[in-house]
């Protein structure tokens, strides 16, 4: 390489081009592989159909998280050979079954024929090729639609299928609240839902939280939101002169990925009766946390030019407060256009059931207190 070429290759302009084409790659390094996979598939599909204007596929485009591909591909099928730099979007992806890695930057494809309809494709993958248990993503482009169906447990288990609209250009607060409701139900509402590894509870029976339950909530919400808003990015806790925001939902421009639209900022607070050390947390401390949360949400939203912001409170206290927790700050939040949302983290499945459905009485009519 000559000195002149070297200077050009490593110039600011050249690096800027790389940033515009590739910003966002590696953002999801701490996510499970199957989530990285479906995000990579969505990103590739958007590049092909939105940027490169590829024509709609005659059949669903199936991606399987199986980088090695097939040892013995069906003899009546044409294989593409390994395709490097797949995520750059240089290759047509339609009318093929793809075997890719979790970042979708490399893969191999089987060509589909004109007789391959949806039923035949799924049957071949499940029954002939025995690939029904591998995480899969299916891109649908027919009839004007553009969506990704994600099968985290494979095509053989359609009950786990999640659908993402790849035409989605914006996210409303209603979308986010609905997503947070689902994430709460699936991973946060009770100690059982949280599991034993990533949990807010040190000892739920004693209402004792872990040292930093906010980090647990943030991690669970981030994974949940990444899975829900597949064409978007979820940034967490960026250092900022005014502090650190908790979660920010953004979207990169398809033609210049370093141009980012900031849709919704989420400020998280965990309300507690006890500290992790066992000491009592006074009600005034929780009220102060809520007041501070409203202020932080408004400040960070304005500082980062975010369209909207919400304060999300996760309440580990024994008593269910609901929206009454916001009595003191309601007017101020409305004035600052900060949404106020609260979810109660029940210390047991029984407490959850009792709150939502009432206590269960036994045959003698005595309420079960367990």
């Amino acid at each position: 390489m000559t000195a002149e070429t070297f200077a050009r290759v490593w110039s600011r302009e050249s690096l800027e081009d790389t940033l515009k084409d590739n910003f966002g790659a590696g953002q999801d390094v701490d996510m499970p592989e199957d989530l990285r996979f479906v995000r990579g598939v969505a990103r590739l599909a958007m590049k092909r159909f939105k940027v490169k204007n590829e024509s709609a596929s005659d059949a669903p485009i199936v991606f399987i998280l199986h980088p090695q591909g097939l040892d013995d591909p069906p003899p009546d099928r044409t294989s593409s050979g390994r395709i490097p730099m797949l995520d750059e979007g240089r290759y047509e992806i339609s009318n093929r079954i793809w075997f890719v890695n979790h970042t979708v930057n490399e893969g191999i494809a089987l060509e589909l024929g004109p007789d391959d309809d949806d039923v035949e494709i799924f049957r071949m993958l499940r029954d002939d090729l025995q690939l029904g248990g591998f995480p899969a993503a299916v891109i649908e482009t027919r009839d004007g639609s553009f969506n990704a169906r994600f099968y985290p447990r494979g095509l053989a288990d359609s009950t786990s299928c999640q659908v993402a609209d790849l035409n989605q250009q914006s996210i409303s607060l209603v979308d986010v609240q609905s997503a947070l409701d689902d994430i709460y139900q699936a991973t946060l509402c009770t100690p059982d839902a949280q599991g034993h590894v990533v949990t807010t509870w040190e000892d739920a029976d004693s209402l004792l939280p872990v040292g930093e339950p906010e980090l647990t909530v943030q991690a669970l919400l981030r994974v949940g939101l990444v899975g829900r808003f597949i064409g978007f990015d979820i940034w967490a806790e960026q250092p900022d002169p005014s502090g650190r925001f908790d979660l920010l939902i953004v979207q990169s421009d398809l033609f210049d990925r370093s141009t980012v639209t900031r849709h919704v900022l989420l400020e998280l607070k965990v309300l507690k009766d006890k500290a992790s050390t066992g000491g009592t947390v006074r009600p005034s401390v929780n009220r102060k946390a809520i007041r501070k949360g409203v202020k932080q949400a408004a400040v960070y939203r304005d500082q980062h030019s975010v369209r909207s912001a919400a304060l999300c409170c996760y309440d580990m206290r024994a008593t269910v407060h609901g929206d009454a927790a916001f009595e003191e700050v309601g007017a101020k939040a409305a004035k600052k256009s900060v949404e106020l949302w609260i979810w109660h983290l029940f210390a047991s499945a029984e407490a959850f059931r009792n709150h939502h459905y009432g206590p269960i009485a036994d045959e003698e009519g005595v309420e079960d207190s367990e």
């Binding site: 390489m1 000559t2 000195a3 070297f6 290759v9 490593w10 600011r12 050249s14 690096l15 800027e16 790389t18 940033l19 084409d21 590739n22 910003f23 966002g24 790659a25 590696g26 953002q27 390094v29 980088p67 090695q68 591909g69 390994r82 395709i83 490097p84 730099m85 797949l86 995520d87 750059e88 890695n101 979790h102 970042t103 930057n105 490399e106 893969g107 191999i108 940034w235 960026q238 250092p239 370093s258 141009t259 980012v260 980062h304």
Partner: protein
């Protein structure tokens, strides 16, 4: 690094390829990832295996890594196949494919997974190997050759490339390029990049260089 740490690095590199299309991993792929991990060590805050390498015009070869892999083969933790020697000028280069013996590695890898320091190193190695796998089997070994430090035209072949300059000395070309990417991201996106983001952007900048089209 101690010999045991060298073996851990070797083990984690081979593991980083385990679920990829290029597994068992070739010697060239393993040395390429190890070199890039050293070149990007400051990005991740990990210890480099080699703080200096000889520029030869072929994949930078780490004698420490080579010894570590041999030791792992001797301990039965790594399996080797397709061994052959290829002439490169006046010397013979070993070509071989390496894979983990899952039975003998299982407990060691489980212990490493619970160690935060090695977790970061594995994350770095896995991200680097995933990026270079994207270049394709043929071009993958060129990734190190087009690295900003290694391809610096001011550095002649058969001279030593210092990957860990002393304080007060100019940072490596790789470090300078990463600093520039960080500055650009701060200007355009308004935030700092994580080590994984920086690594992805840096190695993706190498992509077209491996095709010689830039």
């Amino acid at each position: 690094m101690t010999a045991l740490a060298d073996q851990t690095r070797a083990l984690l590199i081979i593991r980083s390829f385990a679920r990829s299309a290029v597994y068992p991993a070739s010697a060239a792929a393993i040395h390429t990832v190890s070199y890039l991990a050293d070149a990007l060590a400051s990005v991740w805050g990990i210890r480099p295996l080699e703080d200096a390498v000889l520029k030869t015009g072929w994949v930078p070869h780490s004698a420490k890594l080579h010894s570590a892999i041999d030791a792992l083969i001797g301990r039965g933790m790594v399996d080797v196949a397709n061994v052959q020697y290829v002439e490169r000028g006046a010397r013979l280069d070993l070509q071989a494919d390496y894979s983990l013996n899952d039975v003998l590695c299982g407990r060691v890898l489980a212990v490493l997974d619970s160690d935060p320091e090695w977790h970061v190193e594995f994350q770095a190695l896995r991200e680097i190997s995933t990026c270079v796998v994207g270049m394709g089997r043929d071009r993958m070994p060129r990734a190190a050759l087009v690295d900003a430090s290694y391809s610096d035209p001011l550095l002649d072949t058969n001279t030593v490339l210092d990957l860990e300059p002393d304080a007060g000395e100019a940072p490596t070309r790789t470090k300078q390029a990463n600093n520039e990417i960080s500055r650009l991201a701060a200007e355009r996106v308004g935030r700092a990049l994580s080590p994984a983001e920086l690594t992805n952007l840096y190695i993706r900048h190498l992509f077209p260089l491996t095709e010689g089209s830039r």
